[in-house]
Amino acid sequence: MFCHKCGTQVNPDVQFCPTCGASLAIGPPGSGGEPATPWTPPAIVEVRAGRWISEGWALVTADLGNYVLLALVFTVLSSAVPVILQGPMIAGLHIFTMKKLMGRRAEFADLFLGFNYFVPTLVASLVIGLFVFCGTLLCVIPGLVVAAMYKFTYLFIVDKRMDFWPAMQASHAVVKRDYVGFTLFLLLIVLVDILGVLCCVVGIFVAIPVTFAAITVAYKEIVGFDQRTVDAL
C-alpha cells in the first residue's frame, strides 16, 4: 500500500508512514494500492498533440534552468544504471511537472520523489520495455502503438496510487479511445527529441523535459489529478 500523504510505498502492517509519520489507520477510504474511488476512463478523448507539446514547451521555457538540470541528471543516472533507475526517474520528472501544473513550488529534489514508487515504476518500465520490444520486432509499427498505449502508466502510478498492471490497463483504457491520435502524439514527441539531438546534441536536454511535460499536460486534461495527489503535493 501507499501513504495517502506522501505517497511512500509502505508495508500494509504498519500504522504510521516511516517517511512522513502520517497515520495510515485513519487514512481516507481506499488509501492503499487502489484509488479511493474507482477510476473510469473518459467516454470521449480528443487528442490535441500540438497543443500539449506547445504547453509543455511553455512550461519548460518558463523554468529552463531547473528542467535542463533535471534532464541532465536523468540522462546521466539512467545511463549509469540502465533499466533500474529509469522508471522511478520518469515518475520524478512527471511529479515535477505535476507540481508546476498545480501551481506548487517545484524543486530539483522532486526528481527523486519517484523513488517513493520504486517497485511499481521499475516493474512497469521492465514490462513496458518488453512489450515495446516484442511489438517492434513485428515490423516496428506495433511497437510504436504499444509505446503510445502505456505513455500514461507512470502518471497513473503516481497520481492514482495504482500498482503497475492496473496503471498500464488504465493508460491503455485512455489511449484505446484514439489509437491513431495517440500514436501520432508519440511520433511528434519522438520528432521533438530528434530535433533536440540535431541542435548540437545538447538540445536533447530541453527536448526530454518538453516531451515529459507534454505527456503530463495531456494526462491533466484527459484524466485530471486525484484530489489526494493535489493535497499531498
Binding site: 520486432l137 513485428l138 515490423c139 516496428v140 509499427i141 489509437y179 491513431v180
Partner: protein
C-alpha cells in the same frame, strides 16, 4: 455532417492519395523487421506496407503476393477513420486473423 466527420474523411482521403501516388520498392534494400532478422521467417505484418501501396493502385494480385491479408489490413487501416462500433469488431477480428496467418507464416506454410 459534423466537422469531425469531415476531418476524418479528409484525413482518409489524404492517406489514400499518398498511398496511390507514392511507391515503395518491391524488394527493399533494408528490412526493418526484427523478427525476420532474428528468425529468417516473415512476421505476420511483413510485406503489408508494400501491399497497402499496391492495393491503393488497384494491384490486388501483387498486394496479396506481399501479404495475403492485405485487403483486411487495408480495411483495418481505413476503419480507423470510421468512429463506429464496427471498427472495434473489425480490429478484434483482424488482429486474430493476422495472428493465425502469422502462425502459418512462421511455421513455413506460407510466404
Amino acid at each position: 455532417m459534423t466537422a469531425s466527420v469531415v476531418r476524418r474523411a479528409a484525413a482518409a482521403m489524404a492517406l489514400f492519395s499518398a498511398l496511390w501516388y507514392f511507391s515503395v520498392p518491391a524488394d527493399p534494400a533494408v528490412r526493418l523487421c526484427g523478427f525476420h532478422w532474428l528468425t529468417g521467417r516473415p512476421c505476420p505484418l511483413c510485406g503489408l506496407t508494400r501491399a497497402l501501396f499496391a492495393l491503393a493502385k488497384g494491384h490486388w494480385a501483387e498486394a496479396v503476393h506481399f501479404n495475403a491479408l492485405a485487403p483486411l489490413g487495408f480495411a483495418m487501416l481505413f476503419g480507423l477513420f470510421w468512429n463506429g462500433r464496427m471498427r472495434a469488431w473489425l480490429w478484434k477480428g483482424g488482429v486474430a486473423a493476422f495472428a493465425v496467418y502469422g502462425a502459418f507464416r512462421i511455421l513455413g506454410c506460407n510466404g
